[in-house]
């Protein structure tokens, strides 16, 4: 019983932390740079599908897989997601802020179409299965398997967290905040301000793609329905509730929201009759939507706000 609980706990944390890494990526874009990305689902999907294509064994009815090592898949995932972000960023970052939101929204929809319809590459609605899982040799022992994966994901999360903290508190992060906080500073940097924004956008999306790949390999199976706009929405809720601008807040928000999501989901599963499950799931999203909007109005800095004080005057007013 206790072992089951630990196994479930490890499984839960792996999923929550993979969302946490997505949140860290989003935090580079929103928290540090003020870029609103509505296409999180798209960038996560790019990462997941890239890695899945590269690492799955060769299949007859579909293009690939290439049976490459997992780590190549993960690195490529980050790279391809970053590339897609560079494409969007170059076009929209010179324009009004909401155009980035609209365009990322568009790319998420387009990617959803592609994974759904490019059946020879993505498997269409059936998705891609048999994605190699790390420590698959341990699969016979669920506890060991989940704990091994948990330690791996913990290590990766810690690594990404540490690397981003270093970047954010270094000269690069200072420039980003200056651009976000101060129009004059942004203007004095001129063209460079756009380059910095683009770097932040690409880096954030690459982290999201990387996290998408990790998720895919942990679950072992991906399908288009995993990458609907609801995911974007959940990740946003995680970051806003945890506290934008703060990496610890991003991770805390991910664990908290995922816990809430899992608990309410399980509770609804027990209480609500099977034929009303879909409706109950819709209600879950209604509450998160209201929660997100309420946090924006009441406590815009989230549970753990940004550590720096530059923005206090602007936000508290």
């Amino acid at each position: 019983m206790i072992l089951d609980l630990i196994t479930y706990g490890a499984f839960f944390l792996v999923t929550a932390l993979s969302y946490g890494i997505i949140c860290l990526g989003l935090n580079v874009q929103w928290g540090q740079t003020g870029l609103f990305n509505v296409g999180v689902a798209g960038f996560v999907a790019i990462g997941a599908y890239t890695s899945a294509l590269l690492t799955t064994p060769d299949v007859v009815e579909r293009f690939g897989g290439f049976d490459l090592p997992i780590w190549i898949g993960w690195i490529s995932a980050a790279f391809v997601s970053g590339l897609a972000a560079a494409f969007i960023g170059v076009i929209t970052l010179r324009l009004r802020a909401d155009y980035l939101a609209i365009t990322t929204f568009g790319i998420a929809i387009t990617i959803q179409l592609v994974v759904l319809n490019a059946i020879t590459i993505t498997g269409g609605p059936f998705g891609i299965g048999f994605i190699p899982r790390p420590f698959s040799g341990l699969q016979e022992h669920p506890l060991l398997f989940n704990l091994a994966n948990l330690s791996l994901v913990c290590g990766i999360t810690g690594g990404v967290y540490y690397a981003l903290e270093r970047l954010i508190h270094g000269p690069w992060g200072r420039v980003l905040r200056a651009i976000r906080e101060d129009e004059a500073a942004a203007a004095s940097l001129g063209k460079n301000a756009k380059v910095f924004r683009l770097q932040a956008f690409v880096l954030g999306s690459a982290v999201m793609g990387f996290a998408g790949a990790i998720q895919a390999h942990f679950i072992g199976f991906i399908a288009p329905e995993n990458y609907l706009s609801a995911i974007t929405f959940q990740v946003w809720a995680m970051l806003i509730i945890g506290g934008s601008g703060n990496n610890r807040g991003a991770l805390l928000g991910a664990i908290l929201v995922w816990a809430l999501w899992s608990i309410t989901g399980a509770a609804l599963g027990l209480i609500v009759p099977a034929e009303y499950q879909a409706r109950a799931a819709a209600l879950q999203i209604v509450f998160i939507g209201i929660g997100l909007a309420a946090i924006l109005v009441v406590r815009p800095r989230g549970l753990l706000g940004e550590v720096t004080k530059v923005s206090r005057v602007l936000i508290d007013r």
């Binding site: 409706r279 209604v286 007013r317």
Partner: protein, 302 residues
Amino acid sequence: MNLQFLADGVVMGALIGLGAVGVTLSYSILRFANFAHGEFIAWGTYMTLVLTTAISTLFGGHTGTIGPLSFGWPLLVAGVAAAALTGGLAVALDRLLFSKLRSKGNAIVMVMASFGASMALRSLLEFIFTSRPAYFTRDIQMAVPAGLGIRLTPDQFFLIFLTMIIVVVMDRFLSLSATGRAMRAVSENPILARVAGVDVERVIRATWIIAGILATASGVMLGVTVQIRPFMGFDLLLPLFAAAILGGIGSMSGAMLGGLIVGVAEAVAVQIVGADYRAAVAFLILIAVLLVKPSGLFGVRE
């Protein structure tokens, strides 16, 4: 070559255009891209559906249809009432959410809030009505020739006619009425508008009401020609943004023309690559506009 697809493109374009006019007005006056606009479309349509059913039931189902059209007067009455209710919904959402963020002066936080609101409103529809499609009518209509080998159903004729009336009324309203003038003034320069005596909060309310009315018109058109689903507005959102940006933010005629271009381009794409990638057409148009002329066809600012 069979030009039939053009007819469907124009009908689709007309309803995208009506929605895009609402987007472009609220964007230029509220100064943020409202992701919840799609939900105004869906809510307006579902409210029309509920009211139509209620009216028909009240009259014992003997309301019949208007001439060759597939629907009767209850739909028109319900549509007008639902348009007013949707305007009220938009005003209420502004009061509860956007007005509280407006004073903080950060447009992108408003975009985010509208994204949250859109998710909540859409899921609420799904909760109430489930994701199963609904229909105003299941009758199949006979199409009649409209020249160039194109055939239109009586409903399609009616909807194109209705769109033209709405466009003319909106145009007269914006160019001649005091409220329309005030809306143009706030859209160009909100500070000067206030100095000149324009009550900006009142203009914002008027804008939301108009956006709600046009969204309902657009949604009911979609409901009559295709079907009613909780995601109908969400799926229209990208075409709406593409049309509004293509036309130039703030330009009503631009949004209408942009809608027609997007609608016809989708129809052409369906002919060439099939229906699977239809939704990507709006994205390609959006990217092309942002690359070539971000201010759009008739836009004055980027």
